[in-house]
C-alpha cells in the first residue's frame, strides 16, 4: 500500500542526483523498500559524484567488506587535487571581489562592473568562469554551502546568460540541500521569472524546464513557512497548471495538500476540483480521491475512508509528512462545512463518525466549529442533533447586490466619453490647421 502510492520513482527523473538523496534517505527510514535495494540505489546515485568517502562507505556496507577497490583511492586523490587547483584559482577572484574598495565601487549595472574590474584588477572572463566551475565542483563534493556562495558571486558578475541560468539552478539546489529556505525561496522566484521570460526555441523545451522547476520547487514550498501560499499562487497560473496536467499529473497530490491545508485559499478549491476531475483518468491517489468523493460524489462515508488512507500516504511522503496533522484537521473542516451546507439537521454521532472522531470529541469539534462562526448552527442537546440555520438572501438583497455599482460604472463611462470628445475636437482643429 505504501509502495503503490509512493511517488519517488516518478519524481526522481526530474530531480538532480543530490536532490534525490534525501528522498532515498527518507525511504530507508520508513522501510518501504528492502534496505539493500535502497543502499544499492544510493550507491548508483552517488557513484558519479565526487563524494568519494561516502561512496566508499556505502560500498563497504553493500558488500559487507572492509576492502575498498583501488579506484576509490585514486579518485579521491584526483578530486582533492582538482579541488585545490580550483580553489587556488577561485581565491584570486575572491580576493578581488572581497576587497572593500571594490565592493564600494560596484554599481547596479553588471556590464559596467565587469569592465571596471577588468580594467582595474585584471579580471578575465576565464577567471570568472572558474568561480562557476569551482561552485559546481563543490556541489559535486557535497559542500553545498560553499557552492551556493561561489555561484552567488558568479551570478553577480557574469553576463553569460546560459551560465547564469545554470548557476541559478545550481544555487537553488545548493540552498535546498543546505536547508537555507529563505534564499531558496528567492531563487525559486528568480528562476520562475527566468523561465517565464526566456524565449525558448521549442515549447517542448520550455515544458521540460517548467517540469523540472515544479519538482525542485516542491522542496522549498513544503519547507518554507510561506511556501504553501506560494505553491498555490505559482502552480495555479495557467502555464504551470498546464504543465502539471501534461507532464506530471502526480504533482496534483502536492497541490491538493497545499490547498487543503491552506485556510485562506478556499476559493481556489473549485478550480482544483475541476482539475482533479479532469485528470482523474490519468492520476489518482487517496488525496485526490478524497476531494473527489467530497466535492464530486458528495459521498461522505467514502470521503472518510479516503481520509484514513490519506493519513497513511502522507506519513510516507517525504514532502508531506510534516503537514499530516494539519491536513487531517483541515480535511475535517472541509467535510463538516460541506456537510452542514447540505444538511438541515445533523445527527451528532453520525457526523462524529464521518469525521473519524468519537462522540464526545465530535461534539467538541462541532462546538468549536460553531464558535469559530464558520457555520451558523445550534445544537439540540436533547435530541443530540445540530440544527442549521438556513439563511436565504432575500430578493431585495439580491436586487441591491446586482445593481450596486451600476451608477458608478455609468459615470465613468460618461466621463470617458467627455474626455474623448474633448480630445477629438482638439485633434480636429489640429487637422484643420
Amino acid at each position: 500500500m505504501a509502495a503503490t502510492y509512493d511517488l519517488t520513482p516518478k519524481l526522481i527523473p526530474y530531480l538532480d542526483r543530490h536532490l534525490v538523496f534525501p528522498l532515498l534517505e527518507f525511504l530507508s527510514m520508513h522501510k518501504i523498500y528492502p534496505e539493500i535495494d535502497l543502499l544499492k540505489a544510493k550507491y548508483e546515485l552517488l557513484a558519479k559524484t565526487n563524494m568519494v568517502d561516502f561512496i566508499s562507505m556505502l560500498y563497504k556496507t553493500i558488500h559487507d567488506t572492509e576492502e575498498v577497490p583501488k579506484e576509490f583511492a585514486t579518485k579521491r586523490d584526483e578530486v582533492l587535487q582538482t579541488l585545490e587547483n580550483l580553489q587556488a584559482e577561485a581565491q584570486k577572484v575572491l580576493d578581488i571581489i572581497e576587497n572593500p574598495e571594490v565592493i564600494s565601487a560596484l554599481r547596479q549595472d553588471k556590464l559596467q562592473n565587469l569592465n571596471f574590474l577588468k580594467e582595474k584588477y585584471g579580471l578575465t572572463d576565464k577567471m570568472l568562469n572558474t568561480l562557476y566551475q569551482f561552485g559546481q565542483f563543490q556541489y559535486n563534493c557535497g559542500n553545498y554551502g560553499g557552492a551556493s556562495d561561489m555561484l552567488y558571486h558568479f551570478r553577480v558578475l557574469s553576463t553569460d546568460h546560459e551560465l547564469n541560468v545554470s548557476a541559478l539552478w545550481g544555487k537553488l539546489a545548493s540552498d535546498i540541500l543546505d536547508s537555507n529556505w529563505e534564499s531558496a525561496l528567492e531563487e525559486v522566484q528568480k528562476l520562475k521569472d527566468t523561465i517565464d521570460q526566456k524565449n525558448f526555441t521549442s515549447p517542448l523545451h520550455q515544458l521540460q524546464q517548467r517540469t523540472w522547476f515544479i519538482h525542485w520547487s516542491i522542496f522549498v514550498f513544503f519547507n518554507h513557512p510561506k511556501g504553501r501560499d506560494s505553491i498555490i499562487d505559482v502552480f495555479f497560473t495557467p502555464s504551470y497548471i498546464n504543465t502539471i496536467q501534461t507532464a506530471c499529473p502526480w504533482i496534483l497530490r502536492y497541490l491538493t495538500t497545499a490547498v487543503v491545508t491552506n485556510k485562506r485559499k478556499k476559493s481556489i478549491l473549485k478550480d482544483l476540483v475541476k482539475i482533479i476531475q479532469q485528470e482523474s483518468y490519468e492520476y489518482r491517489d487517496p488525496i485526490t480521491e478524497f476531494i473527489e468523493s467530497l466535492y464530486v460524489k458528495f459521498d461522505f462515508e467514502g470521503a472518510q475512508h479516503k481520509l484514513k488512507e490519506c493519513e497513511k500516504v502522507l506519513s510516507n511522503d517525504f514532502f508531506l509528512v510534516a503537514t499530516l496533522p494539519e491536513f487531517v484537521e483541515n480535511a475535517r473542516y472541509l467535510i463538516s462545512e460541506t456537510y452542514c451546507r447540505i444538511h438541515l439537521k445533523i445527527d451528532i454521532s453520525g457526523l462524529s463518525q464521518t469525521l473519524n472522531l468519537d462522540q464526545e470529541a465530535g461534539e467538541k469539534w462541532i462546538v468549536n466549529l460553531i464558535r469559530d462562526t464558520r457555520v451558523d448552527a445550534k445544537i439540540d442537546f436533547k435530541e443530540n442533533t445540530v440544527i442549521m440555520n438556513q439563511n436565504h438572501t432575500s430578493i431585495y438583497q439580491q436586487v441591491i447586490e446586482r445593481t450596486r455599482g451600476l451608477s458608478f460604472r455609468s459615470q465613468i463611462l460618461a466621463s470617458t466619453i467627455e474626455k474623448r470628445e474633448a480630445h477629438q475636437s482638439a485633434s480636429t482643429t489640429e487637422a484643420v490647421e
Binding site: 490519468e282 459521498d299 447540505i342 438556513q390 436565504h392 436586487v399 445593481t403 455609468s410 470617458t416 477629438q424
Partner: protein, 846 residues
C-alpha cells in the same frame, strides 16, 4: 516524322519486306521459333546479325501479343493497308473537289511512304497516285482560272489547293523518273503490287479493327501512325518511338488510346531495365491522362493494368538498385541511348512515382464515388483496395530506402488515410495480406512487421513519422487521423487531450476544405466516443457544432444537401461532388443524429425543468434543433406511436419531462439504430442509468415547489436508484445551488425551501439584470470605439508624413464619420434590445 530518325533503317526496308513476307508464310510454325529465338540476345544487334535480330524482335512482339490475346497484322499488311486507304480517300476527295481532305491525306501518304519504303523502291500505287494527282491538280488549276470570275472557291479550299500545287511539284520532281515510267506504261506497273495484295489478304484478319483506330488527322505531323508498322517496335528503336509519343502527348487530336496501345507494345519489346523504366514512365501517365475530366473516372480494367504497371516499375527499381527516379533530375537531351552506368553509381531518371501512387489512389476514390454503393460492383471495387494498399506500402518502402523524405511523407499520409477509419480486424487482415504479398526482402524501418500486427501501434508509428518529418498540412491531417483512431477505440481522454494540445481547432478554418472535412469527421467521432463512454455532456458539446447546423451531410461530405434556396454555381457543386467521401467511409448519419438528440434530451429536459416558469432561464437553449423538434412535436394535435428515431426520442423526452422515466427508457431502448454501435447492451444500460438520474433531477426541479419535504427512501424507490445515489445527486444539486433545499439526516428527508417568487420580485430581478447587461454593452462599445479611434489616429500619423496629406485626411474623416454612424447604430441596437425586453416584460405582466 522527321527523316532523321529514319536514316538508319531506310536501307533495310527491302530486306525487311522479304523477311516479313517469309515470316508471314511461316506464321503457324512461328511459335516453335519463338522459344529458340527469344533466348538470343536482343539488346545489341550486330551489323551482321541484323536479320536475325529483326526476326527476333518480331517474334518477341508477337509473344507479347499472344499474351494480350490479340493478333497483330504484319507490317507489310499494315503499310499496304494504310497506303490503300489513303489513296482511296484521295480518290474520293477528288470526286468532290475537297482539296483540304486531299492535302491531309496526301501528307499522310507521303509520310507513310517515306517512312516505310524510303526514297528507293516506291510502290507503284504511290507513283500512280502522284501522277494522277498531278493531272487532277493541273486540271483543277485550269478550271480555277476559267471560272475565277464566276465563282470563287472557298478560302480554305483555295489555300489547300495552292499548297498542294507546291507539294506535288516537289514530289513529282523527286520521283520524276518513276512518274515518267508509269505514265508510259501504267498497266504493267500495276501488276506487281497485286501479288502482294493477294498474299496479304488471307492473313489480314483484323484490318478493320486496326484501321478504325486511324483517325483523320488535321495536323498530321506528329501522328505516330501506330497501326502502320508495329513490326518496328524493337528495343533498338524504342527510344525514338517513345520520343515521338511524348511529343504527341497533350496535343490536340492525339489519340490517347492508340498511344497507350503503342506504349504497351513498346513495354513488351523493352529489353533492358532502363528501357522498361522509360516506357513505364511514359505509359503510366498516359493511362491516367486517358480520362481527362474531373468527373469521369478511370475504368476498372485500365486502373488495374496501371496498378500492375506501377508495381512492375517498383519491382524493376527494387531489383536494379542503380536506377533511381527523382523529380529533381534535369531532363537530358540525349534520351535515346542506353546510359552507361558505372558500378556503384546510381543513374537518376526524371519522374515521380509518388505522383503515380497519388493519382492511382485518387482514381480509386473517384471510381468509388461514382459507383452506386448499393451494388455488388461497389463491393467488388472495394476489394481492389487491398492491392492498392499493397502498392502504397511498397512505394513507402522504396522511398524510405532511397531517402526521399517528401515522397515518403506523402505516401505515408495515403497509407494512413486508408487505415484510420477502419476497425482493428480489417486493418490486421489487410496488413497480413500485404505483408505476404510483398517480397520478403522488403522491410520498412518506419513500420517494421512487429508493429503492423497491432493497428494502434501501426497508426502511431505512421503518425509519429509524419509529426517529425511531414510538412504542416500533413502533420495536421496525421494528427486528425490519429485522434479519429483513438476516438474509434473509445480512448476519449487521449483523443481529447490530443485535440486540445494540438490547438487544431484554433486555426482549422484557415485550412483547405478537405482537411476541414476531416476535422469535422474527427469531431463527430470524438463525440460518438464520448457518447459510448457515457459522457453525455462532452458528447453533446462535441456534436453540437456539427449537428446543430442542420447541414451535417455537407459538413461531413457524405452527400449533397438539397438546399431550398440553393443557388450554388455549377462549378461549386462540381467541387462539392468531388469531395464526397466514398460510401464505405461514411459515418452513419442516423446514428449520429440519434446520439446527438439523446444527449440533448438528457441535458435539455432537466434544464428546462430547472428553468421552470422563469422566462429568462427558459431562453437558455442548450440544443436548438432539439428544442425545435420538441416544439413541433408538441404543436401537433395528434401524435401517433413513434415510427422513426426522432419520434422515439421526442416521445422519450416528453415522458422524461413528465417524470415517467420507465416509459422514457423503453422508448429509447426501442430505437433500432443502437444495434450499429458495438456493445449495444452496454450502451442501453448506460442510457437507462442516465435516464434514471436525469429523471430524478427533472422530478425534483419540476415538483420541488409543491412539497415541503420529500422522503429519500421514496425517491429511491420511485426511480429505483440506491439511496446513496439519490443522496449524492440531491447533495450535488444543493451544493451547486440548483435546488433550494437541504437534507434532514434524522428523518431522512429532503426539506425544500423553494419559494415561488412573486411577479414583481421576478421582474425586479430581471430588470436589474437587464440594466447590468446594458451597462456592460455600453462599456464594450466604448472600448471598441476607442480601439478603432486609436488605430485611425495611428494611421493618420503615418499618412500625415506622405505628400497627399489633405486628400487623405478628408477621406479619413469621412470614414470616421461613417464609423460614428455605425457605432450609433450599435447603440440603437443596444437600446433596441432593452426596449424589446421591456415589451416582453409588459407581455408577461399582462
Amino acid at each position: 516524322m522527321s527523316r532523321f530518325f529514319r536514316g538508319g533503317s531506310d536501307s533495310e526496308s527491302d530486306e525487311e519486306d522479304e523477311i516479313i513476307s517469309s515470316n508471314e508464310e511461316e506464321e503457324e510454325s512461328d511459335d516453335d521459333h519463338i522459344s529458340d529465338s527469344s533466348d538470343e540476345p536482343t539488346s545489341k544487334p550486330a551489323a551482321g546479325a541484323k536479320s536475325k535480330f529483326l526476326k527476333d524482335a518480331e517474334s518477341e512482339s508477337e509473344e507479347s501479343d499472344i499474351d494480350e490475346k490479340r493478333e497483330v497484322k504484319s507490317a507489310k499488311d499494315k503499310k499496304q493497308d494504310a497506303l490503300e486507304s489513303s489513296i482511296k480517300t484521295i480518290e474520293n476527295a477528288k470526286k468532290i473537289n475537297d482539296w483540304v481532305a486531299i492535302q491531309n491525306e496526301f501528307e499522310k501518304l507521303n509520310k507513310n511512304v517515306s517512312k516505310s519504303f524510303g526514297s528507293i523502291g516506291m510502290p507503284r500505287v504511290y507513283i500512280k497516285t502522284i501522277a494522277s494527282l498531278e493531272d487532277f491538280l493541273n486540271e483543277a488549276l485550269q478550271k480555277e482560272k476559267e471560272k475565277e470570275a464566276k465563282k470563287k472557291m472557298n478560302a480554305t479550299q483555295a489555300k489547300a489547293l495552292n499548297s498542294m500545287k507546291n507539294k506535288i511539284k516537289k514530289i513529282v520532281r523527286q520521283f520524276e523518273d518513276e512518274v515518267e515510267r508509269w505514265r508510259q506504261n501504267p498497266v504493267e506497273s500495276e501488276e506487281e503490287p497485286d501479288e502482294d495484295v493477294d498474299i496479304e489478304k488471307p492473313t489480314s484478319t483484323n484490318h478493320e479493327e486496326l484501321s478504325s483506330n486511324e483517325v483523320p488527322d488535321d495536323e498530321g505531323f506528329e501522328q505516330v501512325g501506330k497501326g502502320k508498322k508495329p513490326i518496328e517496335f524493337t528495343s533498338d528503336n524504342l527510344f525514338k518511338k517513345l520520343r515521338e509519343i511524348l511529343e504527341a502527348r497533350g496535343k490536340k487530336n492525339t489519340d490517347r488510346l492508340e498511344q497507350i496501345k503503342v506504349l504497351q507494345k513498346l513495354l513488351g519489346v523493352a529489353a533492358t531495365p532502363y528501357q522498361q523504366i522509360r516506357v513505364l514512365l511514359a505509359l503510366i501517365p498516359s493511362q491516367f491522362d486517358y480520362y481527362p475530366g474531373m468527373s469521369s473516372y478511370m475504368n476498372v480494367d485500365m486502373w488495374k493494368s496501371t496498378q500492375k504497371e506501377i508495381n512492375q516499375l517498383l519491382t524493376i527499381l527494387e531489383t536494379n538498385l542503380h536506377f533511381a527516379i527523382h523529380d529533381l533530375v534535369e531532363e537530358e537531351e540525349e534520351d535515346d541511348k542506353e546510359p552507361v552506368i558505372e558500378p556503384g553509381q546510381t543513374y537518376s531518371i526524371r519522374g515521380s512515382i509518388v505522383s503515380f501512387i497519388d493519382r492511382l489512389d485518387d482514381e480509386f476514390t473517384k471510381s468509388l464515388q461514382n459507383i452506386d454503393p448499393h451494388t455488388t460492383d461497389y463491393v467488388d471495387r472495394l476489394k481492389d483496395e487491398t492491392e492498392l494498399y499493397a502498392t502504397i506500402v511498397r512505394g513507402q518502402i522504396y522511398f524510405e530506402k532511397n531517402d526521399l523524405n517528401e515522397s515518403t511523407s506523402r505516401v505515408i499520409m495515403r497509407r494512413l488515410e486508408h487505415l484510420y477509419y477502419k476497425p482493428d480486424q480489417v486493418i490486421q487482415t489487410v496488413e497480413n495480406t500485404v505483408s505476404q504479398s510483398l517480397p520478403s526482402n522488403l522491410k520498412s524501418s518506419i513500420t517494421p512487421p512487429a508493429i503492423t500486427q497491432d493497428s494502434s501501434d501501426l497508426i502511431h508509428a505512421l503518425c509519429v513519422y509524419l509529426y517529425k518529418k511531414g510538412e504542416s498540412l500533413l502533420r495536421t491531417r496525421a494528427m486528425l487521423c490519429h485522434i479519429y483512431h483513438h476516438a474509434l477505440h473509445n480512448r476519449f481522454y487521449i483523443a481529447r487531450d490530443m485535440l486540445l494540445m494540438s490547438h487544431l481547432q484554433d486555426n482549422i478554418q484557415l485550412s483547405d476544405v478537405g482537411t476541414q472535412i476531416l476535422h469535422n469527421r474527427t469531431m463527430v467521432q470524438v463525440g460518438l466516443c464520448a457518447f459510448r463512454e457515457g459522457m453525455i455532456k462532452e458528447s453533446q458539446s462535441c456534436l453540437q457544432e456539427i449537428c446543430g447546423t442542420g447541414r451535417v451531410k455537407e459538413l461531413l461530405a457524405q452527400g449533397l444537401q438539397l438546399q431550398k434556396y440553393s443557388q450554388l454555381p455549377p462549378e461549386q457543386e462540381k467541387l462539392d461532388r468531388q469531395r464526397q467521401l466514398p460510401f464505405h467511409m461514411h459515418i452513419n448519419l442516423e446514428l449520429l443524429e440519434c446520439a446527438y438528440l439523446t444527449c440533448s434530451m438528457l441535458l435539455e429536459i432537466p434544464a428546462m425543468a430547472a428553468a421552470g416558469s422563469n422566462p429568462e432561464a427558459r431562453k437558455k437553449v442548450i440544443s436548438k434543433p432539439f428544442r425545435r423538434m420538441l416544439d413541433y412535436n408538441e404543436r401537433q394535435v395528434f401524435s401517433g406511436p413513434p415510427e422513426n428515431t426522432r419520434d422515439h426520442i421526442m416521445g422519450a423526452a416528453k415522458a422524461l419531462a413528465a417524470g415517467e422515466w420507465q416509459k422514457c427508457q423503453e422508448l429509447i431502448s426501442a430505437i433500432k439504430i443502437w444495434d450499429l454501435m458495438p456493445e449495444t447492451q452496454k450502451i442501453k444500460d448506460m442510457l437507462g442509468r442516465k435516464i434514471q438520474e436525469e429523471g430524478l433531477r427533472t422530478y425534483l426541479f419540476t415538483y420541488s415547489s409543491y412539497y415541503t419535504t420529500l422522503g429519500l427512501e421514496q425517491l429511491s424507490t420511485m426511480f429505483s436508484l440506491p439511496v446513496n445515489t439519490v443522496t449524492s445527486i440531491v447533495s450535488k444539486m444543493i451544493w451547486n445551488e440548483e435546488l433550494a433545499a437541504s437534507l434532514d439526516q434524522i428523518n431522512n428527508v429532503v426539506v425544500l425551501h423553494r419559494v415561488e417568487l412573486t411577479k414583481v420580485q421576478q421582474l425586479a430581478l430581471m430588470f436589474a439584470e437587464k440594466a447590468t447587461s446594458f451597462v456592460e454593452a455600453n462599456e464594450r462599445t466604448l472600448e471598441q470605439k476607442q480601439a478603432v479611434g486609436q488605430n485611425q489616429r495611428d494611421q493618420q500619423r503615418q499618412k500625415g508624413q506622405t505628400n497627399q496629406q489633405n486628400t487623405e485626411k478628408r477621406t479619413m474623416y469621412q470614414k470616421r464619420d461613417g464609423q460614428q454612424q455605425r457605432s450609433r447604430n450599435n447603440f440603437n441596437n443596444g437600446l433596441g434590445n432593452s426596449v424589446r425586453g421591456r415589451i416582453q416584460q409588459n407581455r408577461y405582466r399582462s
